[in-house]
């Protein structure tokens, strides 16, 4: 892979993960929902769009919309029983929900159309890339990058508008406990459910973009580990700051892909190095927690 192509790949990954971290930031950073199952939305988005486009031969736009709707609905549905839980219980419930989604796709191969070596643990390949025939192999990543950046921009604008509105004020007041917003007549439960649905919608969008870029998805790409990479982005970038979430995604993605180059400079086997990058991300979270509690970009204060 040439350097330019690699950079395009890296930028696409940054864009997709930035959408994920923006949506987790809405849930965790702004609303205080410890969502440990964010990968569920990513997974659902990827599978929904794949099924719509590959099995039902729908256009890519329908795939995107379907992915967002299904993931958003899932967010809404899992918050029905969990909306009154406290932070730590919420974390466990969402972690479990994400595993349920992953294990569903691991065991139910018919959902992707069935066939030998299709679905289940084999994963599913040959996911069509939108407008692929119009571009050469060299220029296509740049087109896809543009698609991702448009989606990222839309996500940023929508979430940023929401967080600066009266809606944003209410969800920020929920972070420190329910009783105050309740005493002011705010339906805390309804707000949490809305936030889960909106975050889920954009998580689904990211999943869809990811599936159609790689052309292959399988359940083992959606392990809980993915959720924690997104958490690292929010924590390092700066929680409750939308720009911070994007910066965090960029930094963590650079870290994550650095092993490709470090192998030339560090006398360690590449496989070991690849495992070490997870250690590096862990260390980064710890360092951020100790020295920069609020992340690289602090929460913005609204001045009146």
């Amino acid at each position: 892979m040439g350097l330019v192509n690699f950079l395009a790949y890296l930028a696409i990954m940054m864009g997709i993960y930035a959408i994920l971290s923006l949506s987790l930031n809405l849930q965790y950073g702004f609303t205080g929902l410890a969502n440990f199952g964010h990968v569920a939305f990513f997974c659902l988005g990827a599978y929904t769009s794949t099924i719509l486009v590959l099995v039902f031969k729908m256009p890519f736009m329908i795939g995107i919309l379907g992915a967002m709707v299904i993931a958003g609905l899932f967010g809404y549905v899992i918050s029905i029983p969990t909306a009154n839980l406290k932070e730590d219980y919420w974390a466990i419930a969402t972690l479990a929900a994400a595993e349920v989604v992953r294990i569903f796709f691991l065991n139910e191969d018919w959902v992707v159309g069935g066939g030998p070596y299709q679905g289940g643990s084999f994963g599913i390949g040959g996911i069509p890339q939108p407008l692929r025939s119009l571009f050469s192999a060299y220029t296509y990543p740049f087109f896809y990058l543009a698609v991702v950046l448009v989606c990222l921009l839309a996500t940023y604008l929508i979430i940023n508008t929401l967080t600066q509105s009266p809606f944003g004020r209410v969800i920020k007041s929920i972070r420190s406990g329910d009783s105050l917003p309740q005493a002011l007549g705010k339906d805390v439960r309804a707000f949490r459910m809305k936030v889960m649905a909106i975050g889920g919608t954009f998580g689904g969008l990211a999943g869809c973009l990811w599936a159609h870029y790689h052309g292959f998805i399988s359940p083992d790409q959606f392990l809980p580990l993915e959720t924690f990479i997104v958490w690292a982005m929010v924590i390092v970038g700066g929680k409750a700051n939308n720009r911070g979430a994007i910066v965090g995604a960029v930094i963590i993605m650079v870290f994550y892909n650095s092993t490709r180059f470090l192998k030339d400079y560090i006398p360690i086997e590449e496989v070991t190095l690849a495992s070490l990058r997870m250690v590096a991300i862990g260390v980064l979270i710890v360092v951020a927690m100790i020295f920069m509690k609020e992340g690289l970009i602090k929460e913005k204060k609204t001045i009146y």
Binding site: L162, L180, Q182, A183, Y304
Partner: protein, 270 residues
């Protein structure tokens, strides 16, 4: 409308019981609060004042008894719905959300804001802006009242205890309640400001027509602003009357003096 609604009664508590694992926090409390009045709720520590507030505002579920607000029974409602009915409350320990400025605290409070709906945020921008300007004007007036104008852009968590008390009063006023439950509004507030606060609370009744029920330990505040005083002890109402009547009531004195605190009821400080 219920027949239980006598003229001018905004809140009626009838035989309310609440126990916590065998400890009777409220033991059949009954009283009424007149519309457009300031009613004081006093009693030694642990007499059930805050529990009663929590029951009225829906944070605790009562074991039995009835509560009527404006003639309607409030039964099985959650705190949010009760707040929407028009019962506002403050907490004994003032809570402030983290990373929220004084001004944001005030702007959070108004009820039924258009911009709290997700779709409205994108589709009704002009109406949100109009509402925002109105709330901003209101908030500036209230800041003046609670004397926090200079701190409007400060994070609320950095305020002193007394200032937080004032902020929670200001915040609940922004939500325009009809009945206001104030849990020790002057605790921790500096004495000169307490005088202003008393005037302000009286103005709330006279100018805005808000009915106020307040828990207070500062007897000077009670005797200066309250129309009526209700005394609780061990979860029971032991006396009710004008501040003067209460001050001369033998039962009330006994309730205070028999407690662990030998401090007199009517000391100047509190």
């Amino acid at each position: 409308m219920d027949s239980t609604l006598e003229d001018g009664v905004i809140l009626k508590i009838e035989n309310v019981y609440k126990n916590f694992g065998g400890i009777l926090a409220l033991n059949g409390v009954s009283f009424t609060v007149q519309s457009n009045s300031i009613t004081g709720l006093i009693g030694p520590n642990g007499s059930g004042k805050s529990t009663l507030f929590n029951v009225i505002s829906g944070f605790y579920r009562k074991d039995s008894g009835e509560i009527y607000f404006q003639g309607e029974k409030i039964e099985g409602l959650n705190p949010c719905s009760i707040a929407m009915l028009g019962i506002g409350r403050t907490f004994q320990i003032s809570e402030v959300p983290e990373k929220t400025t004084v001004m944001e605290n005030l702007l959070l409070a108004p009820k039924r804001q258009c911009g709290e709906g997700v779709c409205n945020v994108f589709l009704n921008r002009r109406r949100i802006k109009r509402e925002h300007e109105r709330h901003l004007d209101n908030a500036l007036d209230i800041l003046e009242l609670i004397q926090l104008t200079d701190l409007k852009n400060e994070y609320a968590e950095n305020l002193s205890g007394g200032q937080k008390k004032l902020l929670s009063l200001g915040r609940i006023l922004m939500s325009e309640p009809q009945l206001l439950l104030l849990d020790e509004p002057t605790a921790g507030v500096n004495p000169t400001l307490v005088k202003d606060l008393m005037v302000a609370i009286r103005n709330l009744r006279d100018q805005k027509g808000i009915t106020i029920l307040l828990v207070e330990h500062n007897m000077r505040v009670i005797s200066e602003i309250c129309d009526r005083v209700i005394v609780l002890d061990f979860g029971e109402k032991i006396a009710e009357g004008t501040p003067e009547e209460i001050q001369s009531s033998k039962e009330v004195l006994e309730a205070y003096l028999s407690g662990s605190s030998k401090r007199g009821l009517f000391n100047e400080d509190s």
